[in-house]
């Protein structure tokens, strides 16, 4: 079975998008716990607190004040390493153009989150049940 202790941190200012992401992931990978943030700076503080050291982060880019790119830069400056997945309405190409090269991102998904995206994320993080 998967590691049910893993937490998914969803950072998105739109509540509908938060719900769609949660339900789609739960459908593929049951047993995960979710933490939701509408503002990236709050999410950054949460991660800095060290409460979820093995969390998986789903990050929207178009956020008010503290954007997804700002979040990535700040995280890069800190010593926290987390698997971060960008989840945006923008295409992968646009995100690749705007994103700074040195900021580590595990994957880029376009909304709405597809089953394949979730499976990729599960494989990357060993969240699927053993055969």
């Amino acid at each position: 079975m998967s590691d049910i202790s893993r937490t998914v941190v969803v950072i998105d200012d739109n509540l509908i998008d938060q719900m769609i992401a949660q339900k789609m992931i739960e459908n593929v990978i049951p047993g995960l716990s979710f933490v939701f943030f509408q503002q990236a700076d709050e999410a950054f503080k949460f991660i800095q607190s060290g409460k979820c050291k093995d969390a998986i982060v789903l990050l929207d880019l178009d956020l008010p004040i503290f954007t997804g790119f700002d979040f990535l830069e700040e995280l890069d400056k800190s010593n926290f390493y987390l698997p971060i997945y960008i989840l945006s309405v923008l295409t992968r190409e646009i995100i690749s153009m705007e994103r700074k090269e040195n900021v580590p991102v595990k994957g880029i998904f376009q909304k709405p989150l597809s089953g394949e995206d979730i499976l990729n994320m599960a494989r990357d993080n060993h969240l699927l049940p053993m055969p």
């Binding site: 739109n14 998008d17 769609i20 339900k23 739960e26 309405v89 923008l90 646009i94 909304k111 989150l113």
Partner: protein, 445 residues
Amino acid sequence: MKIISSPWQRVVRLGTSGVFGLERTQIMMVNGLSAGMIVVVSAFLTFYVASGIDKWPNWLPAYPLFFLVLVLNGQGRIKAGRMIFFWGCLALIFSWCMLNRRNGAEYGLIALGVSSTMVFRKRRSVYFGAFSAVSLILVYKVYDSIVPFTPNPTFDYNVVPNLIFSAAVIIVFLEVMAFRELAGHYYKKLSTKYKILEDTITAKKKVEEELNVANEELRTSNESLNSLTGQLDQIVKQKSIELQSYLDAININIYSAVTDIQGTIVTVNDPLVKVTGFSKDELVGNNFRLLNSGYHDREFYKNLYRQLTNGETWRGETKNKNKDGSLFWIDQVILPVKNENGVLRYFLMLALPITERKEMEEQRAKAMQILESITHRASHDIRGPLARMMGLSTLLERELVKEDELGYVARSLLLSSHELDNAIHELTAFIANNHKLFAPERNGL
């Protein structure tokens, strides 16, 4: 060594003032012989008296003769002095021969004959003098052989003739030496003159050769110069035609102006006059700031002026204002012009009109902004609600929505639909407002 004492020198030089060459030598010879004869006669007179020879008065006529010669020469009567000397001597010596035979006076005639070569100027006079002396010797000899000779008891015939002979020899020797000295003197003088002449001729030849070489070089240079001048004329004509073509082209296509270093316009061409809307008279004498649109800041012009005053060419695009306030862009090159001493005097401005290009660039920039805006709207405002609708539909389709959540999902779907609808309307309106920017006839897109 100076062997002639000063009084002797004065005597020898009697009558030589203003006389040069052979004649001077002859006068000096006559003077010298006269003075010498006075000494010789005095010596013999002394000897005769001392020896008790009764013929001593025979010597006395020599004094007035030789003094007369010196007086005549001293007075400048050279010819008279010369004649008196020779013929007087001849008569005197001959009388000595005849009055006191076999005393050796005939040797004096020989010496006198030799001296004729030095005394007379004309050759025939020399021959005649020498011939006369020889003739008188012969007369004396004949007379002496015919008329019986009675020896003078007071006379020692073993001594006196030998003394007179010796005196005659000395006189001849001195004359020959004088000849030798004279010949040596003239040889040296002539050699020096010949050497100078030879040097002069050599130098002249050298100068002539150098002159010839120089003339030849000059001729060649002249030919080259003429040829070059011809070529230069051709080049100048060709370049003038080219330059005129350039100027014509400039006056058609390019704005040009010349200003002094303060920016005061010195001259402008017609295209620039036309684009500014000012007349030529209004522009010339005015500062180029007259066309300043205010678009560029003070720092821009400071940099421009600094570069030009450093002697560098400035290239850039400027926005200017014409007389009626319309703006026009030019792409200009400004060149600092220095005089022959390297002092900056003028600025030459050449420019191309680029107003249309700049307007097009501005339009393109605006169009790009609009395109970016459309892309942003499409990405966020349209793709956002659409993605949510797709996500919610997927949740419903996969029955991942609980019953109590259905209301929320339905409202979310409706909300997203409205958002999408609004976004599409706004985008449509936005494109409609900016459609002119995309008209192909305006911007070439």
